[in-house]
Amino acid sequence: MTNAVIAGYARSAFTPAGKGALARVRPDEMAADVVRALVARTKINAGDIEDILAGCAFPEGEQGLNVARLIGLLAELPLSVAGATINRFCGSSMMAVHIAAGAIAMGAGEVFVCAGVESMSRIPMGGFNLLPSPKLYAAKPEAYIGMGETAENVAGRWQISREMQEAFALESQRKTAAAQQDGRLDEEIVPMGEAVRDGCLRPETTAEALAGLKPAFSKTGTVTAGTSSPLTDGASAVLVCSEDYARRHDLPMLARIKSVAVAGCAPEIMGIGPVAASRKALARAGIEAGALDVVELNEAFASQALACIRELGLDAAKVNLDGGAIALGHPLGATGARITGKAAALLRRTGGRYALATQCIGGGQGIATVLEAI
């Protein structure tokens, strides 16, 4: 089996939907800018790219049609580079990495750009034409459950108190602000007009301010806007290629893709999805959670992130070293490539051996990737 490696990672700044610096930027163009920069930074021969696999949770409107192909054309990649749009909601662009790794393993290509994009300013969650199945809704209404409600369910079932969620959110804000302050995020960001740094974070957040917020999804609930990831615009991309190709072209390899997994769970507790997926991926990698040096666990909500950390027995000190989505933002389709690329970059930065990138997915799923240092 041919090994797949991550040989490059770039993203746009993540900015608040509606009011941020990317609110007036088309998502296809945003993603093309990131892809173009990734290709330029890695200095690969663009003609070697087999396919652009672009993840997007609501692929319609300006991120519709086969947006992956359009991103390739906008980025002025050679016409020979193909493109496919991948949708696994929030897991879309991590799924793109998995597909690329699988293709490389079976010899179906050597170089893949795995991108992700979401403009939550311009394409609403649920899309422009939400038309649920009346039959499914009658039989299993939870199939269409709102994400905030799932966060409440997880908080309830795993007994994650509001105070715990707020402490986690505060820490996420602190870590992200410190990373920004120290310039640890600069390298990965592709500047676009005024969007030169991440815009969602709120470094001024205090425990008191968080405690004063009203519940966002249920009047008796514990989840607030402060303990949820904000609506965000952004794009990201990682370069996935065969280890052999990377060595031939002297690319700086960040990490090897050791194992991958997806798993379903009950839609009403979708936030717990990373647990089953991560367990599978860890087993496939032949390691225990204790062997992980770096974890990128997407913070869709503080409640589900905490529940996953507890269930998986993760060391909180190794989770989201440069902060997470509560502070950084969560542009649905773009998050998977960000956390996979980030986990790879952190593995290299920290000199650790194993990293896990994992996230929950609406509808009740989880996705996980185990990376190994080279």
Binding site: G61, L131, P132
Partner: protein, 790 residues
């Protein structure tokens, strides 16, 4: 310069910024300049900050979302050069002669030849502003005195500005800013503040002298006299207590010692103490009234003990509603209150008598005619009646006889009027005003101004009952007017009687006329507080529901649908001309017009969900059509449906006619009239312009999403319900609305007609009105005017 297209406002305080906002509402491109704040890197920070505040102010100074984009911020150090392209420069800086004059010199150096410059001063006479300045400047300079808030207060006092060079300014002020321009003489306080300040001072001083509490004074000096219902103390809180001393001081400085003002310019120590301690009214820590949080955490209204305050002690006590029998009776007989010997009667006449005498004594000093004075007080101080109209109501002889009690001499014009009236209708049905020196002269309306009141003076209605009438506007155009009063308020609710006159009117126009205008006015009310129509008479529906006359209710809905459809399909143009609120069935009436010419202050919306119902007279059907036709909407079955669902399920009401266009209660091709007095004339002109080759609009086929769309809307409501934003019954009502907007059990591939959707409207309406929760909502509105959130 032929017309004013660009305006600069210098001074971005509350008034300056609000004037800039209103000039932008009027369609002008606006430059707002202020100083460069020392130590600030952004040199336009002051003006920019003011523009940001405009977006948040309440009441909103801006109409619709486009207006603010027309305002550009700048500063007086870097941007005076830009004034070379500006047609009208308004100065609204601090009330200091030296500052203003220094600025004028700078303006004169850069301004465009032929441009006009005006000051928004309220306290400095024109001759002082002009002294020492070159004739080339003063020739183009005048005072334009706006009232706060400039968007809503219809008065614009102009001092000077009578030359031909000011014609574009007058036209812009009238037609674009929508102001009634009153030409004032260059006397202190001009018209409205001269009389208004005297009124406020008298009310303040006499309340202290006679030992009244603020609630008592306000109960008397408000509604019973047709003055603002806040009364004088409430009014001071509203406009800002700190404004008074500036105006008082300037009047004291400028008015001759013989002026009655001086006798009333007392007791300002209390005001000084209040201001010094930050009690400047609603904008500060409170004023004569304060809302204070009690031990139970609830806010309660408190009132200042003014007797103690006059001695320098500010103490507030729980506010008590004044229960004065005379005041309650005043609606029927205000003279009984005025002639009463109690302290309440003495207060009522003490203030009113002085104010009427003072106003009468100021003709011709402050204005040429009494009608200008009355208009200034109505439009600048929101009095329902001006002083001379009040004298006419009381009888001039009665007023003269009672002035003696106050030890006041009777002013010449009051002596001259004798037993006569200041206003009369001549033989031709035209209104005339009494002129000093005896005799009457006609009140001329500017070209384009058509008032239904004038029409009514000169003719009898073609059709009429107690709630609606039809008038002949001439040129083949009829006017259908609703005048349905409920509990002393012109709510103009729609019932069978209103609809029957409309039905007969449609038939009459079809036979013998060319076009129809739907219009009414309530000139004694602030235009933005008036009602085109507040919708179907829910009181009647409630009664019928109580005795389970379901067939009757459904019949009423069917009749309305039939009539509105007939109106839309009529072979002649029907122009809706709303001002103020057009809600529910009133909104649906407009949705079925060939065109709408709306007063800028039109508040249009489908608010049925507030009473637990859904629009039943085609509101859903027409709104779906309009949103589906919009080429800017994303494709597919849901976007238009979701938008209409959002608008109706949240009972969204436009905050201006401009916003009504954004919400599609009006079409982009519909017209907006800024000057209330021009609305009827504009509507008539629009109707006439549509007559040649008129064809009624074609009904649109609708593609609706069916049951899947119904689920999508249910999901949204479910989320709001869990968050506690939607109540239990909201879920039911929204569900019934979703039944209509989704098209029921339709397949997306099938076409529906608007009539099909109206059938769904009727079904949902009937299902809802049978629920006890919707009935409880209706009852709550009838009983208290407040929506029930069950």
């Amino acid at each position: 310069m032929e017309e004013i297209r660009s305006v600069a406002v210098i001074g971005a305080g509350v008034m300056g910024a609000s004037i800039a906002a209103h000039a932008a509402n009027a369609g002008a491109s606006v430059l707002l300049l202020d100083i460069v704040k020392p130590g600030e890197t952004n040199r336009n920070a002051v003006a920019q900050g003011a523009i940001e505040r405009l977006k948040k102010m309440d009441p909103a100074p801006l109409m619709g979302k486009n207006a603010v984009r027309r305002i550009k911020a700048g500063n007086i150090e870097d941007d005076l050069g830009a004034l070379k392209d500006v047609d009208w420069i308004v100065e609204a800086v601090v009330e200091r002669l030296d500052v203003k004059q220094e600025l004028y010199k700078k303006l004169d150096a850069v301004r465009k030849p032929g441009s006009v410059v005006s000051s928004n001063t309220s306290t400095i006479p024109l001759k002082e502003l002009c002294s020492g300045l070159p004739g080339s400047f003063t020739r183009d300079f005048c005072i334009t005195h706006f009232f706060n808030p400039p968007r809503y207060m219809r008065l614009l006092e102009i001092v000077g500005g009578e030359g031909e060079q000011f014609a574009p300014l007058h036209k812009f002020a009238d037609e674009k800013l929508g102001k009634t321009v009153i030409q004032c003489n260059d006397t202190p306080g001009f018209i409205a503040n001269r009389i208004g300040t005297y009124w406020i001072q008298s009310a303040l001083v006499l309340a202290l002298e006679l030992g009244l509490e603020v609630e008592e004074a306000d109960a008397i000096m408000g509604k019973p006299m047709g003055f603002p219902s806040t009364g004088v103390f409430g009014l001071m809180d509203l406009v800002g207590i700190d404004l008074g001393p500036h105006v008082n001081a300037s009047l004291a400085r400028l008015l001759p010692q013989s002026d009655l003002f001086h006798a009333m310019n007392r007791d300002t120590a209390m005001i000084g103490t209040m201001i010094a301690q930050g009690y400047t009214g609603n904008k500060g820590k409170g004023g004569f009234y304060r809302s204070v949080r009690g031990a139970d955490g609830k806010r309660a209204k408190t009132a200042l003990n003014i007797q103690a305050a006059a001695k320098g002690d500010l103490e507030w006590r729980p506010s008590v509603r004044a229960e004065i029998a005379l005041v309650k009776d005043a609606r029927n007989d205000v003279k009984k209150l005025l002639a009463d010997s109690s302290k309440f009667g003495k207060y009522a006449w003490g203030v009113l008598g002085r104010v009427l005498a003072y106003a009468a004594s100021l003709v011709p000093e402050i204005a040429d005619g009494i009608a200008d004075i009355d208009a200034a007080m109505r439009l600048g101080y929101t009095w329902k009646f001006g002083p001379f109209e009040l004298i006419d109501q009381l009888g001039a002889e009665w007023v003269c006889a009672h002035l003696a009690q106050l030890g006041l001499t009777v002013p010449p014009i009051l002596q001259q009027i004798g037993a006569g009236k200041f206003y009369r209708t001549n033989a031709a049905g035209a209104l005339e005003q009494f002129a000093l020196g005896g005799g009457y002269k006609p009140i001329r309306r500017a070209p384009g101004i058509l008032l239904l009141d004038d029409i009514k003076r000169a003719q009898k209605p073609l059709l009429s009952n107690k709630v609606a009438s039809t008038w002949d506007l001439g040129d083949g155009v009829l006017c259908f007017e609703i005048h349905a009063e409920i509990r002393h308020a012109m709510l103009n609710m729609l019932d069978g009687d209103v609809l029957s006159i409309l039905e007969k009117t449609l038939s009459l126009v079809g036979k013998s006329y060319k076009a129809l205008v739907l219009y009414n006015d309530d000139l004694r009310e602030m235009p933005h507080k008036t009602n085109f129509s507040t919708g179907a008479n829910i009181g009647m529906a409630y009664m019928m529901a109580n005795i389970r006359l379901w067939g009757k209710i459904e019949g009423f809905i069917k009749d309305g649908q039939k009539l509105y459809t007939a109106m839309r399909n009529a072979p002649f143009p029907v122009v809706g001309a709303p001002a103020g609120r057009a809600l529910g069935g009133g909104c649906e009436m407009l949705l079925h017009c060939s065109a709408v010419q709306a007063y800028a202050e039109s508040y249009i919306g489908l608010v049925e969900v507030g009473v637990g119902l859904v629009p039943g007279w085609g509101g859903c059907a027409t709104m779906l059509s309009r949103w589906q036709e919009d080429p800017k909407m994303p494709k597919g079955p849901m976007p238009a449906v979701a938008k209409v669902f959002e608008i109706i399920s949240t009972a969204t009401v436009s905050r201006s006619a401009a916003e009504a266009i954004e919400l599609k209660f009006m079409r982009p091709s519909d017209g907006i009239t800024m000057n209330r007095d021009r609305l009827l004339g504009d509507a008539k002109a629009r109707a006439l312009a549509m007559v040649a080759g008129y064809a009624p609009p074609q009904a649109q086929a609708l593609h609706l999403p069916g049951p899947s769309g119904r689920v999508a809307m249910a999901l949204a409501v479910e989320g709001f319900h869990k968050r506690g934003i939607a109540t239990d019954h909201d879920v039911t009502v929204s569900g019934a609305l979703a039944d209509v907007l989704s098209g029921g059990k339709v397949e997306y591939a099938e076409e529906l007609s608007e009539t099909d959707v109206m059938t769904l409207e009727r079904q949902s309406f009937m299902a809802l009105i049978r629920t006890k929760e919707s009935q409880a909502r209706i009852k709550s509105i009838i009983d208290s005017g407040k929506p029930l959130r069950n």
